[in-house]
């Protein structure tokens, strides 16, 4: 289970990512707990495996439209599937990596695994996950934190 302060760490990481990388802030909805092991996903998902002091996954999932606009905000003109996957992995990696400021160095991150076009393949290792809704421009995405 996550403590409130730990959830706040991920909220701050997500907010900072959009403020800095897209120069346009995102609003974060109220985090909620999913208990059926199926927190859901959008078109593309970047999954970071967590090991060390904590175990589980953190993933960022977003629709293609959002990722395409985010790429363009980053002056990236190549909006190919390959670059979209690269971006969703980088967002997941950045938010998870930033969390080490509070979780410490034993919060060990894997390189991102990317799931595209196959939302059913995105599964949580445990029944309980926290979902942090992220709204940016007209798009909705989610950050999912599923830790033992």
């Amino acid at each position: 289970m996550l403590k409130e302060a730990e959830i706040r760490t991920f909220i701050e990481g997500a907010t900072r990512y959009f403020e800095v990388s897209a120069q346009q802030g995102a609003s974060v909805g109220s985090p909620y707990l999913v208990t059926d092991g199926n927190p859901g996903a959008y078109d593309y998902t970047g999954v970071i495996g967590i090991s060390g002091a904590r175990k589980g996954i953190v993933y960022f999932s977003a629709p293609r439209g959002m990722l395409t606009v985010l790429l363009m905000r980053m002056q990236e003109t190549d909006t190919s599937d390959e670059n979209i996957k690269d971006l969703v992995g980088e967002v997941a990696n950045t938010i998870s990596g930033n969390a080490r400021k509070d979780f410490g160095r034993n919060f060990i991150l894997s390189v991102p695994t990317i799931v595209g076009h196959d939302m059913e393949k995105v599964t949580a290792p445990y029944a309980k996950s926290y979902v942090i809704p992220i709204n940016w421009r007209t798009h909705s995405a989610k950050l999912v934190v599923c830790l033992e």
């Binding site: 800095v20 980053m74 002056q75 990236e76 992995g89 410490g104 160095r105």
Partner: protein
């Protein structure tokens, strides 16, 4: 190899990151006249090979990468050329990781996400040692 000192002599830059987007972003955003990008690599092993071939003076280095991670790569590059200037550019925001990178031979640390200005300030500061 000697790094040119206190002059405007061009310096060779190698960019190491497993994200193509970040590699291109650094190449596009860096505005330091002295720096000329000579190559980029997507993991530590590629970076070591490229380092041998291109002999860069300055390296930006991601940490979380497949094949060989950034900390190990920093050690390898410094073993090849102790004068190389390495700016670690990573999302890993804990102090212990930054300290370890510096202890292994990196010269600076920039946390992702970063603005263009933060990148250029970090590179400028790095080059004060050149």
């Amino acid at each position: 190899m000697n790094v040119p000192s206190r002059s405007q002599t061009p310096l060779k830059l190698m960019i190491v990151d497993d994200s193509n987007i970040i590699r291109r972003r650094i190449e596009r955003s860096q505005q330091i006249d002295r720096l000329e990008v000579v190559g980029s690599a997507s993991n530590g092993r590629q970076a070591v090979e490229l380092f041998h071939r291109t002999r860069p003076d300055v390296v930006t280095m991601d940490l979380t990468m497949p094949e060989m991670d950034g900390i190990e790569c920093v050690q390898e590059l410094v073993a090849i050329n102790s004068k190389v200037l390495i700016l670690v550019v990573s999302a890993l925001a804990d102090k212990a990781t930054a300290v370890e990178a510096i202890e292994k031979g990196a010269n600076g640390f920039l946390c992702k996400p970063f603005t263009d200005r933060q990148l250029n300030d970090a590179l400028q500061e790095l080059l004060l040692d050149a």
